[in-house]
Amino acid sequence: MSDWTRDEMMTVAAARQLRDGCICFVGIGLPSAACNLARLTHAPDVVLIYESGTLGTRPDVLPLSIGDGELADTAACVIPLPEVFGYLLQAGRVDVGFLGAAQVDRHGNLNSTVIGPYDAPRTRLPGAGGATEIAAHARQTFVMLKATPRSLVAQLDFRTSGGFLEGNGARARTSMRGTGPQSVITDFGVLQPHPASEELQLSALFEGTTVDEARAATGWPLEVAATVETIAPPTKIELETLRALHARTREAHRRPVRLPA
C-alpha cells in the first residue's frame, strides 16, 4: 500500500512535465493544480497564464474559476481577453497549453462539447472555451484526464479541439501552428504519440500499475511504446506541497463571503 493516491500521482506526473521558465496557458481543474504544483516545486519561474488575462499569476490557493480575484491579485499584469487570444496565443507566444477534457481519442483529439448527437445530445458539456485555439497554437499541449473506456475513446462524439486529427501527419498539413498533444497524463500513467502514426501509445506507468490495467482503462487497443518508463513515486516535498495547496484551497472556498451591503 503506497502512501499516495493515483490522483496525486497524476498531478505530480503532470507537474513534472513543465520546464522552469516556460510560458504556460493553464486550463481549469486538474491542469491548474498541476501547473501550480510545478511552480511551487521545481519550476518557480514558470509563467502561468489563465484565459481571463492574468499573466504570470502566482495564486496562493487554487482558483475555482479561471477568473477568481486571487488570480488577478497575484498576477504580474491583467490584459483584456482579445489580447490573450490574439497577441499571445494566436501569435505563437505560448510554449505549453495544459488542457483537460471529457474525452480524448486515439489521436489526441479532444471532446468537451457533447456526448451523443450535437442536435439531440445525451449530455451537453460546456463547450470549447479557449481549448480549441490553445490546442491549435500552443507550441505543444499536455492533456490531463482520468482514464476510463468512456474517456479514452476510439471515436469522439464531437471533436472540440484538434490533436493529430486522423494521424499520419494530418495535423502538419493544416495551419495549426503548435505541434499538438505531446503527453496525455492519466491516473495510470502517460500516453505519447507514436512518431509516425501519431496514435497515442503507453509510454510510462505509475509504480504498481500494469500494462493490463492501462489497456482495460483505454477504449481502443492500446499499443505499448518500445520502452515503458516507470514514473518515480511522488517525493515527500511534492506530496506535502500538493496536499497543503489542496488544504488551503478547500479552506478558502468554504470560507463564507460577506454579502455586499
Partner: protein, 283 residues
C-alpha cells in the same frame, strides 16, 4: 447636459425590449447579476442572449423563459460542473426551445472586436481541427488576399444592448473599471445601447491615462447598484462567492427547486438590495 444616471428598472424598461439581442458581459468578474434579475422581473421574452460564458446569470434567465437564442463559447458552472437550466433547455427544450450559436472564446472575442470597430466580420486563425464549423453555419472562412492563407471568419457581434457592471461612474456617465476586464470594452463599443450598473457614482472620475474608461457618449444609462455583480465579484469591493457557485449546482438541478428559489429570492424581491437581504435571511 441631460444626466445618464437613472434607476436600473428604468434603464431596463427603456432599452431592453422583447426580441432584442442582449449581451450581459463580464468574464467571471463584474457579471451584471442585478441587471439580469431585473430583466427576469420585467418578464422579457424571446431575447437573443450573447455571452462568452453564460454563467449562472444566463442559467437563471434561460430557466425563467427569457431567451430563445444563445450565442456563447463556454457554458458551464466554472470549477463546479453543468449549468443545469441551460442543459435542460438544450436537451429537453424546457421551458422553451433554445437555438444555440456556439463558438470558441477566440471567435467571440474577435466578433466583438469587429463589432466595436464597425466591421462586418472578424477574421482569425481559429476554429482549426474542430467540428464547430459543421454545426454552426456562421463560422466560415476567407482567403487572405496577400498570403492566400485560409482564415476563419465570423460575423461581427453588434448587440442591441450591452449591459455591464463596473466599479465607478461619474455623473456625466463616464465609467471606470479595473481587474479582469474580459471583452467588456469591445462588447460596449459594439452595442447600439449600453447600460452600466456601478458600485458607486462619483462627481468626477480622476484622469486615467491608460485605465479602462468607457466614455460617456457611448453610455446610454448608468445606475448605481451596490453588490450588483454578486455572486460574481467586484475587485476591491467584494470577493466571488465560490460557495454560492457550488450551492447553485443543487439549487438548479431540478426544475421545481430552481423555480422555488427564483420565486423566493428574485421575483419576490423588488430590487437587488432586497434580493441580497433575502439571501442574508437564509444564511
Amino acid at each position: 447636459m441631460r444626466s445618464k444616471v437613472t434607476t436600473l428598472s428604468e434603464a431596463i424598461a427603456a432599452h431592453v425590449l422583447d426580441g432584442a439581442c442582449v449581451a450581459l458581459e463580464g468574464f467571471t468578474h463584474l457579471i451584471p447579476f442585478a441587471a439580469g434579475h431585473e430583466i427576469i422581473r420585467q418578464g422579457r421574452r424571446d431575447l437573443h442572449l450573447v455571452r462568452m460564458t453564460p454563467d449562472l446569470i444566463y442559467d437563471q434567465m434561460i430557466g425563467m423563459g427569457c431567451a430563445s437564442r444563445l450565442t456563447f463559447s463556454w457554458g458551464g458552472n466554472p470549477g463546479v460542473g453543468s449549468l443545469h437550466r441551460l442543459r435542460d433547455a438544450v436537451e429537453h427544450q424546457w421551458p422553451a426551445p433554445l437555438a444555440i450559436d456556439e463558438h470558441t472564446h477566440a471567435g467571440v472575442a474577435a466578433a466583438y472586436s469587429a463589432g466595436a470597430a464597425g466591421l462586418p466580420f472578424a477574421t482569425l486563425r481559429g476554429y482549426l481541427g474542430t467540428d464547430l464549423p459543421s454545426v454552426n453555419p456562421r463560422i466560415r472562412s476567407v482567403d487572405c488576399p496577400f498570403t492566400g492563407e485560409r482564415l476563419a471568419a465570423v460575423p461581427a457581434l453588434n448587440p442591441d444592448v450591452t449591459i455591464l457592471h463596473a466599479q465607478r461612474a461619474d455623473r456625466r456617465g463616464n465609467v471606470a473599471m479595473h481587474g479582469i476586464v474580459g471583452a467588456q470594452r469591445e462588447a460596449a463599443f459594439a452595442a447600439r445601447a449600453l447600460i452600466v450598473t456601478v458600485e458607486e457614482i462619483v462627481e468626477e472620475l480622476p484622469p486615467a491615462m491608460n485605465g479602462i474608461v468607457l466614455p460617456h457618449w457611448i453610455v446610454s444609462a448608468v445606475a448605481q447598484c451596490r453588490g450588483g455583480a454578486y455572486p460574481s465579484y467586484v475587485h476591491d469591493h467584494y470577493a466571488r462567492d465560490n460557495s454560492f457557485y457550488q450551492r447553485w449546482d443543487a439549487i438548479a438541478r431540478e426544475r421545481d427547486g430552481f423555480l422555488a428559489w427564483m420565486n423566493r429570492h428574485v421575483l419576490a424581491s423588488r430590487d437587488h438590495a432586497t434580493f441580497l437581504a433575502s439571501l442574508r435571511e437564509v444564511a
